[in-house]
């Protein structure tokens, strides 16, 4: 079984998935990633799934769990490149992946990670937002 390569650059681990990810490969990736986080004390992980055109509940859960596990090890995971049809299907399946950060592409994902790792906390500008809307601070947690 081929293992997905994980590239370390600075404090960030970059995983660029090039083929359809089947079950064993996904679990293998999770394992390898956590190990690498431990060995390198990486603070951020960027997973690029722009090539993947099917994400079912199994893969969705693996991604979600990986983010949680990495979080416990003090590393932030950002998933980028979710295709529109994949996004729609994920939502219809009922997996909104609320726990993981997402961004449109690698560039945005890196910017987001940089923010998170750099520890920049944005203070809301102007008046406090009313009910039914999210504070502007959340803007930064969601793919920027």
């Amino acid at each position: 079984m081929e293992r997905i390569p994980i590239v370390k650059i600075g404090e960030i681990l970059l995983v660029s998935i090039q083929t359809d990810l089947h079950d064993q490969a996904a679990l293998g990736l999770q394992r390898d990633l956590l190990e690498k986080i431990q060995n390198t004390s990486a603070r951020g992980v960027l997973i690029d799934i722009s090539v993947i055109d099917i994400v079912d509940s199994f893969l969705g859960r693996v991604l979600s769990d990986t983010a949680s596990m990495a979080g416990i090890m003090n590393a932030t995971v950002v998933v980028v490149g979710i295709q529109p049809s994949v996004a729609i299907t994920l939502v219809e399946l009922g997996l909104e992946l609320k726990r993981i950060h997402t961004a449109l592409n690698v560039e945005r994902g890196l910017a987001l990670l940089q923010q998170k790792i750099g520890g920049i906390e944005r203070v809301p500008v102007g008046a406090v937002e009313g009910p039914g809307s999210r504070p502007e601070r959340r803007v930064n947690q969601n793919g920027r």
């Binding site: 979710i82 939502v91 909104e96 449109l104 920049i120 999210r134």
Partner: protein, 300 residues
């Protein structure tokens, strides 16, 4: 298989030209609907040949090649005639009219009633069946047109517009049904990817009513845009809709709303400007490692 329709086969073999001539003359007399006599002759000739083929083969089951050949041919001329403005009745009548030509021929060639029925019954049933094929073709053709028009209508009524760098707007107008909302969602997501937008403003000022299904679709759209790293702002929520949503028990917490599109735009600008600030700040603080990687990525 015994040639039950020996007389009929013989007629097809020996008197094919005569059948063709008589048939063309009959059709011309009844009006060709603008088609040239040549074209009509070709159609009739082809049909008679195919019909002879089916009769020769003996059985008229749907799967044998002769039946398929004649069915395909009929579907073709049905579509053709429908385009030319023939009613389905006229096209079917065209098929049935062949009986008027062939049956008398068989009658004169056959000695008694029994033989006549035996020779002619299968042919008669076959032509009836083929007449119905033309009807079905017509209906299927119309259904295709309707589907296409439905799609076009849905497309036209769901514009997604880029109103600023990184900001998309969707002014939704009229009743939202499942189909439209689905199309809106797909269009929006694709546009987010294509324009690398960060905020989408869904304006429902022009939507008179929202039910659970539509509310759920909107929630789906919001969730899906989040997966693409973008945010949704819903604007133009009328008091009536606000009441409906609460009564339906739909949970809109976590969804940003504003009363008007203008307010929505204000917020969107703030969000995107902030974003650009962050990106700039982020890149200033970039470690060399990331800068190096970024440069590498530009080369791939």
């Amino acid at each position: 298989m015994p040639k039950v329709q020996a007389k009929l086969s013989e007629i097809f073999q020996k008197r094919r030209e005569e059948i063709l001539e008589k048939w063309v003359k009959q059709q011309t007399a009844r009006g060709t609907g603008g088609a040239s006599e040549e074209a009509l002759r070709r159609e009739c000739s082809e049909f008679i040949n195919l019909l002879a083929g089916v009769t020769e083969a003996g059985a008229a089951e749907d799967n044998n090649p002769q039946m398929r050949a004649i069915t395909d041919f009929l579907q073709g001329i049905s579509k053709d005639r429908a385009k030319k403005g023939f009613s389905p009745t006229e096209t079917a009548a065209f098929i049935f009219s062949l009986k008027e030509i062939i049956l008398p021929m068989v009658q004169s060639a056959v000695k008694n009633e029994e033989d006549f029925t035996r020779e002619v019954m299968p042919l008669s049933l076959l032509l009836d069946k083929l007449g119905i094929v033309t009807f079905e073709s017509y209906v299927t053709g119309r259904e295709e047109v309707i589907l296409r028009q439905q799609n076009d209508m849905a497309e036209l009524s769901t514009p997604v517009v880029k109103i600023w760098d990184g900001i998309l707007a969707l002014p939704l107008i009229g009743t939202l049904d499942s189909r439209r909302t689905m199309i809106v969602m797909e269009k929006l997501l694709q546009k987010i990817v294509d324009s690398a937008s960060m905020v989408a403003i869904l304006d429902i000022t022009g939507v008179p009513m929202v039910d659970t299904l539509v509310a759920n679709h909107i929630m789906k759209t919001v969730a899906a845009t989040r997966l693409l790293g973008a945010d949704c702002i819903i604007t133009g929520v009328s008091p009536a809709i606000a009441q409906t949503i609460v009564h339906l028990g739909v949970d809109l917490s976590g969804v940003t709303t504003r009363s008007t599109m203008a307010e929505g735009l204000k917020l969107a600008l703030k969000m995107t400007r902030q974003n650009l600030d962050d990106e700039r700040e982020g890149s200033e603080k970039e470690s060399d490692g990331i800068k190096g990687m970024k440069m590498q990525r530009e080369h791939t």
